[in-house]
């Protein structure tokens, strides 16, 4: 084989790079640019891809109805590949090169933490459709808003549901120590459940990726009195295994958790063992959904040829609508005014609930859907706002 020499190789590479870099992009008449970085490849892709589809659907609807302030909106999309280094680079591209007025980003707290310092420095408002850590605004600053409820709210609704609907005055707590989300969820649950008069008979932990829960289950069986229910702050991969092993051990009490269960895997993997599982999430998407959600499901299916994969599709949709609403009320395409308008949002009706920010709090008060499993199907068990919310 003939070898290409060093100089040719370098020259070839360089000229390709120049040619590729030269291929410019042309735009239609002066749209309002909203940054939409998303992890479309890598480990967060199953959440961010539906989120982007939902966001695009909302943008298309807004533009079809005449846009915002008489101008169309354009989502400036980059794939950040679930890599914090790429996220930091893309953030500066969005801010410096694309000059976006605001940003909508991510379904996980890690990615929001990675982009946060730069948007805070550039004073550009950011709405995260799906990162549920209520600590994000205090960790990053006044430019960060959540379009979803915080984990403190969903944990509180979970505790209320156990106390009032399941009539369970005693409980048992299982916590996954492997992620920020499950650890926070568990802390918030304990605060509300005990505040509401419930009594925890015991607590136990495990780590993301564990496959056998025999030790934890043996402890539950050894309790002098069976708990009324089990709160499992888990992700879907583990909770399906926990459910199966609990039912095999003859423990048939309800198991309650957060939006980490919100995946088709709960029914596919959990099967019969998933009976009696309940979880709090953003919106009930499925057979028998409310007309508002049904309308969104139909539009999503028409645009993407698939049903919404999970609630993150609806959250992406709501986040774009929330941003457009704020820009309209700001009356100008100006980052500082948009930030103030987002903070003043009140009673915005979205697919995932009504969004209102209380003064100085960047986590909205939203109602939470509690979804249960019965006869191998999901059903809406309750939709409620919490009576007591623990501090973030």
């Amino acid at each position: 084989m003939k070898n290409i020499n060093r100089r040719t190789a370098l020259g070839l590479g360089l000229s390709t790079a120049i040619v590729l870099a030269g291929t410019g992009r042309s735009f239609a008449a002066d749209p309002i640019k909203i940054g939409f970085p998303a992890n479309l490849t890598g480990n967060a892709a199953s959440l961010d891809a539906p989120m982007l589809n939902g966001g695009k659907l909302a943008a298309a609807e807004i533009n079809a109805a005449g846009g915002v302030l008489g101008r169309p909106i354009e989502l400036v999309v980059y794939d950040t590949k679930s890599d914090p280094t790429v996220i930091a680079t893309v953030a500066s591209q969005l801010i410096d090169s694309d000059k976006v007025v605001s940003i909508i980003a991510y379904s996980d707290s890690d990615s929001v933490l990675a982009i946060g310092p730069q948007i805070q420095k550039a004073q550009i408002p950011l709405i995260t459709p799906g990162a549920t850590s209520p600590k994000l605004p205090s960790q990053l600053g006044n430019e960060v808003f959540l379009a979803c409820f915080g984990d403190n709210v969903q944990a509180a609704v979970g505790a209320d549901f156990a106390l009032n609907n399941l009539k369970a005055k005693t409980g048992y707590l299982l916590t996954d120590l492997g992620t920020e989300y499950t650890t926070l969820l568990s802390d918030y649950f304990v605060k509300t459940y005990e505040h509401g008069g419930g009594k925890l008979l015991g607590k136990d932990t495990y780590k993301t990726g564990d496959k056998t829960f025999t030790a934890q289950i043996a402890k539950i069986k050894a309790l002098p009195e069976a708990p009324g229910f089990i709160y499992a702050a888990s992700l879907v991969d583990e909770v399906t295994l926990i459910l199966k092993q609990l039912r095999q051990a003859g423990i048939n009490v309800p198991v309650v958790g957060g939006d980490g269960y919100d995946s088709p895997l709960l029914l596919e993997v959990g099967g019969k063992a998933a009976e009696g599982a309940y979880f709090t999430t953003h919106s009930y998407i499925g057979v028998g959904a409310t007309p508002k959600v049904q309308k969104f499901m139909d539009a999503y299916k028409a645009a993407n040829k698939v049903d919404p994969e999970n609630a993150f599709a609806a959250l992406g949709y709501d986040a774009v609508k929330l941003m457009a609403d704020a820009i309209t009320r700001a009356g100008a395409v100006d980052s500082a005014k948009i930030r103030d308008a987002i903070a003043a949002t009140s009673g915005l009706d979205g697919v995932t609930g009504t969004i209102t920010y209380r003064a100085g709090i960047a986590v909205p008060d939203k109602s939470v859907s509690v979804i249960g499993v019965k006869d191998g199907k999901l059903f809406l068990a309750s939709e409620a706002a919490p009576t007591f919310v623990p501090e973030p």
Binding site: M1, G13, A17, G178, E180, K207
Partner: protein
Amino acid sequence: MVRLLLVTLLLVLVAGVAFGAPYLMSDYFVRVLLIIALNSIFVLSLSLSNGFTGVFSLGHVGFIGAGAYVSGILSLTVAQKASLLPNLPVFMNWFSMPFLPATLTAGAFTALLAVIVGYPLMRLSGYFVSVATMGFLIIVNVVLINASNFTRGARTFTGVPLDTSLPWVFGWLVVTLFVLWRLVYSPFGRRMKAVRDDTVAASAIGIDMLNTRLSAFAIGAFFAGVGGSLYAHYLGSFSPVTFYFAMTMNLIAMLVLGGMGSLSGAIIGVICVTLLSEVLRSVERGFTIGDFIVPALFGASQVALGFIFILIMIFRPKGIMGESEFGFGLFRRSANSKIKQGEVK
């Protein structure tokens, strides 16, 4: 004398770029420059063991991760330590270290770690050492996830001050390059290459194989730890999964692409891969040429990059630079490079 003048001139130029770039270029290009310099430190330190000593280590990212976490823990403020790491042992929670000492401590820690790990591992050869060092990477990852009193476990380690700027990274790159250059093109460097090319012959002429490999491994680990610290202070927040197989593959690809036995090759590999992935990342978003519209195809950049790697491995199996150096004739070439290239018989 002329050489000294030229080297000084080059250093002044580097310093000029490092301090001047933020005023002349957009933040995006400054970041791309910074990432190139940072990855150069990683790949240069990797080349010491993988390229020059023939110890194909897959555990290098383990040292980078350890360095990042050590430096991150040391540089958190006392208040942050109390809220983020409440269970930190008492002897660690009452102080906060500035950037430079934290970076040096991280480097010293990873070098020590390399001596401990390398002492048994550097006796192995060929792919045995690759698998064993990969085991080390897995151990580091599991320790980072489980030592939650120090690392917050699998949760994001956040709040590290964003101290890494272009002058810092360029400064450390110059130090790394200088130390490695002096090392590789010295009698010690000859011993490293002898061990790489023929272990039996090297031992026969009295070269201490274990000692040579271990030194190269530990020095490489020192700069990996330093780079890890710079990376931690660049990102501000990271988690154990940041320092795992994806990063390992990325660094090895850069090294192999640039040329395993060449310091300038390592840097050229980094520049090519970084610029190419940046350009491809923008192209995959779709574009229009005249009336011709190319739609967005996310993920295409990874595919294209992989394809280019295959092409380079077919046409230039020794990487872009092979074993020769690129220095405008400024620096002494390695004596055997011309023979290897087939230019001198």
